[in-house]
């Protein structure tokens, strides 16, 4: 009773404070204050968009403590005032009526019952204490950097447990292995400025017109200014991007490997590769003799040339289905030193059973042709989540990684991190934890059959809809009574449906946050509105769990000096009890955790900007270092002397984290290999899955916005009209799609938004009433462990 009273009082106090702050802000804008009638009390603030990895900055218009309008931020370099339809409606995601507002625990009858936050945190801490090594943390590329850092610290520095993964494993793990095995360090060297300078844009299995529309417009709008940009769409189905393309190269799925090799072969065999660039800055590499690993083995140019030999235009044309003229055109573009070429890719290359290989090969043809390191020449991977780069990759919330691009397997990296965390030597577990598919498979396996993950906490993601082969990797949990699933989310989802404990989370501008976008840009925002009910930030949840573990006597929760590992201090050096929610906002926890994390980014020269610098900008691209005048400067083009402060004078291009320690990048050869589940007589179709413009991932947020949900209410299956006619299917007919793992009934759409060639199907995955991932394949790239959602064998019939 007493606590209730106290909470009520505190809530009131917070409300008063918030409104006084709002009026102060309004007061600081005299123009607005003088025209209350015309501005209607709208208070504008900035934040990066909640959705994709593009990282647009929006202006948030707030009236009476609620979002009432959104506008593109004109001073943001990424989007220059433009947004996409999701961005313009991002404010609506906060106000769905079914927001989760109270922690809920499933009782013996399987019903969720309201409990207090204190009880919820105790339940979690007790589960962890029971078996800390069987506990796993599953987050996402939508974790803010401080959220990811808190989870990372709890797991790796506290529990000595490496079973922490982000959903980004399902989305960009292969881009990471591609970058690391080529340049020795993750993330693109180029940036979005390349889009303003390229002569040719090649989309490799990518549909930016729908998935990264602001970036797509950034290139295509150059045409309306009279500039010439050649767009090449190398894809497996016609999309809205194709409509703008000069060349649509419709290849047979999986043969992108051969196409890249064909270009490399042409450059080498016609002597049109950039000899100076290759001799100065590159080595050659290939897979080890028996199997596949991250680093492979060195080879010489002669061996490289020999390996490329089979990939003639004739052979590749036969394999890929591309006409010889199209292949020749691609080869000629790369052979022409005058053409500035930017390659873009996202899930098409990353969700691939040979994803690391195709990533390496595309980097390889850019290096071989010297199309690297000057504005307009860049191999650039895009991310689908707002902080897949910032949190998953840079904070390293992956089972094998440590913050700042370091690895748990490397003794010197562990030692370095133990020092920064101030924890005893040997605290960090040297063995990588379970990657996503493995983690969930083990969670869904009975304990006595090797299912050695017993408790998973999920934050900011919806694995119940996104894991591949859902029946095996997620739904099997239903029958396992000793497994415990904790889910923090903002709305009910396919994941909360199986959760034993549901935690209501604060969303987007209901909390402070920092994201990192696809071009190494770190972006910060402040809490602007109150979350509903008892919803709280994920950072607080993690801090509260860690502190409860400390109270329960878990030794890992103390650092070398006996202090709490996630302690936050005020300016006077006093510890602030931020794990107690009443005091969470006594200090900016985001800033404190970000500044604790920042030194980790220095070892691999990924220096993120100080928090207070980020407050002043709409994002800064790392490495951000101080120049002589004390000004913090961002880096647009990494490894290029004219831009990157870490490149030594006179080096021109320096890959200063080269895996061969000689400042050189690796040009890889990887062969074409068939897909593990190619269509056959029983399952004659290729099944591809993906996103649509209006919905973001599983639609948890966008399906609550009327404008977005009405535009794209349900999932469907795109198929070729001739296949449809043969099977007696017409538009809107319900069809049953079956794979070896399950089946689903959805309406057919011929000549719809996208148009697959004969023998191909496409189904979007946003619809929680039709879980297409019950059908997808859980085979993954053996190096990146990222599954292939883009290809598996299917059959269809009229329902």
């Amino acid at each position: 009773m007493l606590t209730l009273e106290r909470r009520k009082f505190l809530k009131l106090a917070a409300l008063t404070a918030a409104s006084s702050a709002a009026s102060r802000r309004a007061g600081a804008a005299p123009l607005a204050a003088n025209n209350g009638s015309s501005l209607a009390g709208l208070d504008w603030q900035k934040a990066p968009c909640r959705f994709c990895g593009t990282g647009c900055h929006v202006k948030v218009g707030i009236r009476d403590g609620k979002i009432a309008a959104i506008a593109g931020h004109e001073n943001a370099e990424v989007n220059k005032g433009l947004l996409c339809v999701k961005g313009y409606h991002v404010g609506g995601i906060l106000y769905g009526k079914d927001r989760l507002t109270t922690p809920q625990l499933r009782d013996a009858n399987g019903e969720l019952q309201d409990i207090t936050w204190e009880e919820a945190i105790n339940v979690i801490a007790d589960r962890v204490m029971e078996a800390p090594e069987k506990f796993a943390f599953y987050g996402s590329g939508q974790w803010t950097i401080p959220e990811g850092y808190a989870a990372q610290t709890l797991m790796k520095a506290g529990l000595s447990n490496n079973h922490i993964e982000p959903n980004a494993r399902l989305c960009m793990a292969s881009a990471v292995t591609g970058f690391v095995s080529t340049y020795g360090v993750d993330e693109p060297a180029g940036c979005y400025d390349d889009l303003d300078h390229c002569d040719v844009l090649i989309c490799w299995g990518n549909n930016p017109a729908e998935m990264h529309p602001v970036l797509f417009s950034r290139v295509m709008d150059r045409r309306s200014r009279g500039e010439k940009v050649e767009l090449i769409d190398i894809g497996t189905r016609r999309t809205r991007t194709t409509e703008f393309a000069d060349h649509f190269m419709n290849f047979r799925p999986q043969t992108d490997l051969a196409i890249a090799n064909c270009i490399a072969r042409h450059l080498v065999y016609t002597n049109t590769y950039d000899k100076r660039f290759v001799e100065k800055f590159c080595n050659f590499r290939a897979d080890i003799e028996d199997g596949l690993d991250l680093m492979g083995r060195p080879i010489d140019f002669a061996a490289y040339k020999e390996m490329l030999d089979p990939y003639t235009i004739e052979y590749t044309s036969k394999l890929s289905g591309l006409p010889a003229e199209q292949l020749q055109h691609l080869c000629d573009l790369f052979a022409d030193p005058k053409q500035k070429i930017t390659s873009l890719w996202c899930m098409g290359m990353n969700q691939h059973t040979r994803a690391t290989a195709i990533n390496r090969l595309v980097h390889g043809i850019h290096l071989l042709s010297g199309k690297f390191g000057v504005p307009g020449n860049a191999p650039t991977s895009l991310t689908g989540q707002p902080s897949a780069c910032g949190t998953a990759r840079e904070v390293g919330t992956l089972c094998h990684a440590l913050p700042g691009g370091l690895l748990v397997a490397k003794p010197d990296h562990r030692e370095h991190c133990e020092k920064l965390w101030n924890i005893p030597a040997g605290r960090i577990n040297p063995k990588p934890g379970y990657h996503t598919v493995e983690m969930w498979t083990r969670f869904c396996t009975p304990t006595d059959e090797g299912g050695d993950i017993s408790t998973i906490i999920v934050q900011v993601t919806n694995p119940g809809q996104t894991l591949p082969n859902l029946k095996k990797t997620f739904q099997a949990k239903k029958n396992l009574k000793d497994k415990f699933l904790i889910v923090s989310d903002v709305y009910p989802t396919a994941t909360t449906a199986l959760a034993d404990l549901v935690l209501p989370a604060a969303l987007w501008v209901e909390k402070n946050g920092v994201f990192g976008n696809s071009e190494r840009r770190t972006q910060q925002w402040f809490k602007l509105v109150e979350p509903p009910g008892q919803a709280r930030p994920d950072t607080w949840m993690t801090l509260a769990i860690a502190h409860r573990l400390l109270e329960l006597g878990h030794p890992g929760m103390k650092d070398k000096d006996g202090n709490f590992i996630l302690a936050v201090h005020d300016e006077a050096g006093n510890e602030v009890p931020v794990w107690d929610f009443d005091h969470f906002y006594d200090i900016n926890v985001d800033e404190a955790l970000f500044e604790q994390y920042r030194p980790f980014t220095h070892k691999k020269h990924k220096n993120v900007a100080p928090y207070q610098e980020l407050v002043k900008h709409t994002g800064m691209r790392w490495p951000v270092v101080q120049d002589e005048s004390g000004e913090w400067r961002e880096t647009k083009f990494r490894f290029s002397e004219f831009s990157d402060p870490f490149v030594e004078k006179g080096k021109e291009i320096q890959f200063y984290h080269s895996t061969t320690d000689d400042d050189r990048a690796q040009i890889w050869f990887c062969p074409y290999e068939p897909h593990p589940e190619e269509p056959d007589d029983d399952y004659p179709f290729w099944l591809c899955t993906g996103r649509v413009l209006e919905h973001w991932h599983t639609g948890t947020m966008t399906m609550r916005v009327p404008q977005l949900a009405n535009a794209m209410p349900k999932t469907y299956c795109e198929l070729n009209p001739e296949d449809a006619s043969e099977l007696g299917i017409t538009n809107g007919d319900p069809i049953v799609i079956s794979t070896r793992r399950g089946d689903i009934t959805v309406p057919a759409w011929t000549n719809g938004r996208g148009r697959p060639p004969r023998g191909s199907l496409f189904v979007p995955f946003f619809d929680e009433t039709k879980l297409i991932n019950e059908l997808t394949l859980d085979a993954y790239c053996p190096i990146s462990k990222e599954p292939d959602y883009k290809k598996c064998a299917a059959k269809i019939r009229r329902a």
Binding site: L94, H602, A709
Partner: protein, 301 residues
């Protein structure tokens, strides 16, 4: 005599001409109706082929090519590729006379109705409007067929709105149909985004209020001009009467109408940690002078 002969000859010619003319008229009229009958039969035959709409679009088609227009006899009930749920059914369209002399001010209720109609299609004032008809899902540039400058079409009493930001070409990036997937017949057609969903988002209302320095001074713009490069897209001839310019002969709008000093992206954005009334700690925390909140200066290795 000569003149009589000529007259008779002329009369004969006239008679011949009129006979020939009536024959021609009869032939052409019967041909027309025969043609109609045949066309209807043809159409009936085509309709039996239910796969018709499955016909593959030639992937190598010229990018400027458009969906085939329906035959004129079936226009009244044709399924138009892009617009079939909009008032594209010509039979239902009734042209209306212009309701207002351009020099007279509009009635307040007309003005309010125009603003309400405008907001119906927007989540909040200045949000991109939803599209009140179904669209060509494939090619965003199909929108420009009717919405590009100079391409406006009069459908009934409505003129298709002209794009006010022609340099942006990926229309569907921001404008989505009010009710999508029309081809799949899953949702009833709607011209506004109907909220079947429970969502409590309450958008900013139009802030259009006259701001006039003195009587008869040109009013200041009541809305931002961001992405509104062409004032006549909304205020030009053929646009809703209430917001139409009273002086269409004057083309340089911003010469007299000043941009609003509180709109147009000159908002002051104050990015600061939100203020909270500090709650006293239950007891004085123990200080740890050895620990600081993270070092700001890391080493570069």
């Amino acid at each position: 005599m000569d003149s009589d002969q000529t007259e008779n000859h002329d009369k004969g010619m006239k008679r011949l001409m009129s006979i020939l003319l009536s024959i021609a008229i009869i032939i052409s009229a019967s041909g027309y109706f025969m043609g109609l009958v045949q066309t209807k039969n043809d159409i009936a035959a085509q309709k039996e082929n239910k796969w018709e709409e499955n016909k593959a679009i030639d992937p190598n088609r010229d990018s400027s090519s458009l969906p085939t227009a329906p035959h004129y006899t079936e226009q009244s009930d044709a399924r138009w590729k892009a617009n079939d749920d909009w008032e594209g059914h010509f039979a239902r369209l009734h042209p209306q006379a212009v309701t207002r002399d351009p020099t007279n001010p509009s009635h307040p209720h007309e003005f309010e109705a125009a603003i309400a109609a405008r907001l119906d299609r927007r989540a909040y004032d200045t949000a991109p409007p939803v599209v009140p008809h179904s669209i060509d899902e494939q090619d965003p540039r199909a929108c420009l067929t009717c919405h590009a400058p100079g391409n406006a079409r009069l459908i009934g009493d409505r003129l298709t709105p002209t794009i006010s930001h022609p340099s942006f070409q990926n229309c569907t990036q921001c404008h989505v149909p009010a009710s999508g997937q029309h081809e799949l017949s899953q949702t009833p057609p709607s011209t506004i985004a109907v909220s079947s969903l429970e969502n409590e988002f309450s958008g900013q209302q139009p802030i259009a209020h006259d701001e006039i320095a003195y009587e008869n001074a040109p009013p200041v713009l009541p809305h931002p001009v961001w992405m509104r490069q062409n004032c006549l897209s909304c205020h030009g001839e053929g646009r809703p009467s209430a917001i139409r310019t009273s002086h269409p002969q004057r083309q340089n709008c911003l010469q007299c109408h000043a941009q609003n000093h509180v709109l147009d992206n000159r908002e002051q954005i104050i990015n600061q940690f939100p203020d909270f009334t500090p709650i006293p700690l239950p007891e004085a925390p123990e200080s740890n002078p050895d620990q600081t909140a993270g070092s700001a200066h890391g080493e570069h290795e």
